[in-house]
Amino acid sequence: MIRRIVAAVALPVVLIALWWLLTANSTSYFWPPLADILKVLPDTWFGERARTDIAPSIARLLIGYLCALVIGVAAGVAIGISPVLRALTEPSLEFFRAIPPPVLVPVIALFAGYTGSLSKVITIALGCLWPILLNTVEGVRGVDEVLLDTARSYRLPRHSVILPAAGPQIAAGARQALSIAVILMVISELFGASNGIGASVVQFQRSFAVPQMWTGIIVLGLLGVLLSLIFRVAEHRALAWYRGWRDAERASR
């Protein structure tokens, strides 16, 4: 246990120390000393902003992410199972996937409104969709044939086998989507937002409030860590069998 905690904090501590030392006497306007950044951090984020900016951002992020998860897995299973459906949809999906959100956002806004949260939630969901969808499709396609045959011959519904069997790969996608969700949360707030963490960071950047801008980057990083910790707990539970299996056979050496 202690070892695990040490492992988790060792490298970050070293990196932070390095950052601290390298910027300690910095006079560069853009690389303020870490001490200065940390000094403004609480004032910047833990007052009014927690409610007006952090909370709405996280709410949009979670809703968008969960939508992507449900749609991505459902569509991924359908597309993964059916070669015809895959051939039909793949180029179109690739087409939309390749379009950068900043240019897609106006189109989404056209349908979902320019202000308000809906278009932002859709932007986040749309961006998170791809890793989840792709991984699900690949995971489903890679399921052991004997396992599938077994399910078929006992007339089990296909998804009851495919979902757990593709579980590890779906988890890989879901994990990846999580960090994309944070990215898109910021991007979505670049357009038509009056509040949010991303909007604030951009605002700081535009008004050349550099230490505050750095605190924003730190807050985003911390948010990412927090989300991924939560995710890890969930993954641990859902894929306990998989970890057990791999650990058991690897307990070896």
Binding site: D149, A165, E249
Partner: protein, 265 residues
């Protein structure tokens, strides 16, 4: 009345863009409640045949009919024990869940399921390991879970592909008797693939001997031993020895016939 009809069945695989004729022509029928064993050299096409019967593989030509209907997908009421037992168990489920899952699909009530699972697990000697995951079991134990799953399902047709390959001699004998007792009690139709000729003769009412690839039925041997069998007396029966020797010769002949290369070194 014949439950299962295999008519002119042929299967050609593609291997590296070249056709590979696995099964050339198989025709036979199995009556309701019969126990038929299938033997043949390794690579003859036994698994291929079973997969066609189970509706998991489309034949290149010919057809399989079950109760008069052409098989196009996995038919209702059939249970399959796969040769790759390890890969056919769901690693995310415990032993109990693996056996119980198909019964849930069959809409058995919870107490009924429980009873059926317990009975099947104790029949294969695995009740104590009910809460283990498949990957926590030995090879033989995994295979017995797959068998327990099939018998708990109470199918009307039971298809088994070398189901006792990984268990020890003693357990094997017990499981053989288990299969016969279930067969007699439930009047289920069984197709049983094995490479153990003694086992084929001991278990079956008929033994289908397949030739080497490209496969045809070499002979359909009727096992005219008494219906009441037991490990000691049946195996020491003179007729048993005769049949055994006959089938052995057939398999030997099958192997020589179209053998790819013969062992040397």
């Amino acid at each position: 009345m014949s439950v299962l009809e295999v008519a002119g069945l042929a299967k050609t695989y593609q291997r590296n863009r070249k056709p590979l004729e696995a099964i050339r022509e198989l025709t036979f029928t199995v009556d309701a409640g019969q126990l038929v064993c299938v033997v043949g050299p390794s690579g003859a096409g036994k698994t291929t045949l079973l997969r066609c019967i189970a509706g998991l593989l489309e034949p290149t030509s010919g057809e399989v009919r079950l109760n008069g209907e052409k098989v196009t997908g996995p038919p209702r009421g059939m249970a399959v024990v796969f040769q790759e037992y390890g890969r056919s168990l769901f690693p995310w489920m415990t032993v109990r869940q693996n056996v119980e899952r198909p019964l849930i699909e069959k809409r058995l009530s919870k107490p009924d399921r429980r009873a059926a699972v317990d009975e099947a697990l104790s029949a294969v000697g695995l009740l104590d390991s009910h809460d283990a995951h498949p990957w926590q079991l030995s090879g033989g134990m995994q295979q017995r879970v797959a068998i327990a799953r099939a018998i708990a399902y109470q199918p009307s047709v039971l298809v088994m592909d070398e189901p006792f390959a990984a268990v020890d001699a003693q357990t094997r004998a017990e499981l053989e008797d288990l299969v016969r007792s279930i067969w007699q009690r439930l009047n289920v139709t069984i197709v049983f693939v094995t490479h153990d000729i003694d086992e084929a003769v001991y278990l079956g009412q008929r033994v289908l001997v397949l030739s080497n690839r490209p496969t045809v039925v070499l002979e359909d041997v009727t096992v005219d031993l008494p219906a009441e069998r037991d490990q000691i007396s049946t195996r020491s029966h003179a007729r048993f020895a005769e049949l055994r020797a006959h089938v052995y010769r057939l398999v030997q002949q099958a192997k020589k016939g179209l053998r790819e290369t013969s062992p040397t070194l």
